[in-house]
Symmetry: C2
Subunit: 149 residues, 2 copies
C-alpha cells in the first residue's frame, strides 16, 4: 500500500536527503546550498513552498515539492520544482501517484498551467512525461544569476 500525503514537520530530513540524491543524479551535488533546517522553515513556517510525500510501511519513498508561480500569459500557475522516487521504490507506480496528486492540487487551486523542467539526457523522466501526455518544449534556454552574501 502506498500512501500519498501532505508533508509535515519532521519530514524535512527525508525530503532533504532525497533533494540531495536528485541533485547528485542531476550531476550538480555542489549546487545545493539549502539545508534541512532552512527547508523546514520554507515548507512549514514561511510556507513559500509545499510538498507531498509517498509513504510505504511508514517509510518515505518519494516526494514532490511545488510552489505557486505566475505567467504573464496564463496568470496563476503551479511550478513543480522537484519530483523524485527513491531508486529502490521505482516501477511500482509511485511516480504516477505523486504526479497525479500534484495535478489534483493544481486543479484545486485553479491554476491555468503547471510547469517543471527535465534534463535533456534524463530519458527515464522524459519517457514518464511523454507517457503521461505532458507537453515538452526544448526551445527555451535557462538564464541564471547566482548571488552570494
Amino acid at each position: 500500500m502506498i500512501l500519498i500525503r501532505e508533508a509535515k514537520p519532521g519530514d524535512e530530513k527525508d525530503i532533504f536527503s532525497m533533494i540531495k540524491e536528485l541533485a547528485l543524479y542531476e550531476k550538480e551535488p555542489d549546487e545545493v546550498v539549502n539545508n534541512e533546517q532552512e527547508l523546514c522553515n520554507h515548507l512549514f513556517h514561511e510556507k513559500i513552498c509545499h510538498a507531498i510525500v509517498a509513504e510505504k510501511k511508514n517509510e518515505i519513498i518519494g516526494f514532490a515539492l511545488y510552489y505557486m508561480s505566475y505567467s504573464t500569459w496564463k496568470g496563476h500557475c503551479l511550478y513543480l520544482e522537484d519530483f523524485y522516487v527513491k531508486e529502490n521504490a521505482r516501477q511500482q507506480g509511485v511516480g504516477s501517484k505523486l504526479y497525479n496528486a500534484v495535478i489534483d492540487i493544481a486543479k484545486l487551486k485553479k491554476v491555468r498551467r503547471m510547469d517543471w523542467q527535465v534534463l535533456d539526457w534524463n530519458k527515464p523522466a522524459i519517457d514518464f512525461y511523454v507517457k503521461h501526455s505532458a507537453e515538452l518544449d526544448g526551445q527555451w534556454i535557462n538564464g541564471r544569476l547566482n548571488f552570494k552574501y
Copy 2:
C-alpha cells in the same frame, strides 16, 4: 532621461499591451489568456507578482515583471517572468537599466538566484544576457500541462 520606477495601478494597460507585443514576438500570441483586469489584480491586489517600468517623457517604454520563486537547491529565488523594451525605444540602454534594477531588487530581497528563460532563436536577447555575464544553460526541457476550467 529614463526613469525606472515601481509599477502602480493604472500601468496595467501599458504593461499588458507590452506583454501581448512580447508574446507576438515570441510567436505565441494565442497563448495569452490573461487580461488587463486580471493583471491589475495580480500585481496590485493579490500581489503575487511585481513589476517595474521604464518611463521616458511620461511614456512607459519598457517593463520587467517578476515574482518570488523557490529552489530546493538554493532556497529563496526571484523569477524574471517578462522583460521587454518597446521596439522604438531600443539601443538607448533601457534594457540594461531595467535588468540592473531587477538585480538590485533580487539582492535587496537576499535571494540566492535569479532565473529567467530566453528562446533559443532570440539572438538579440541572448547577446544581451551574454554581454551582462549571465549564465545560460540549454540542457533543460520545459514540461507543461495546461488546464482549462
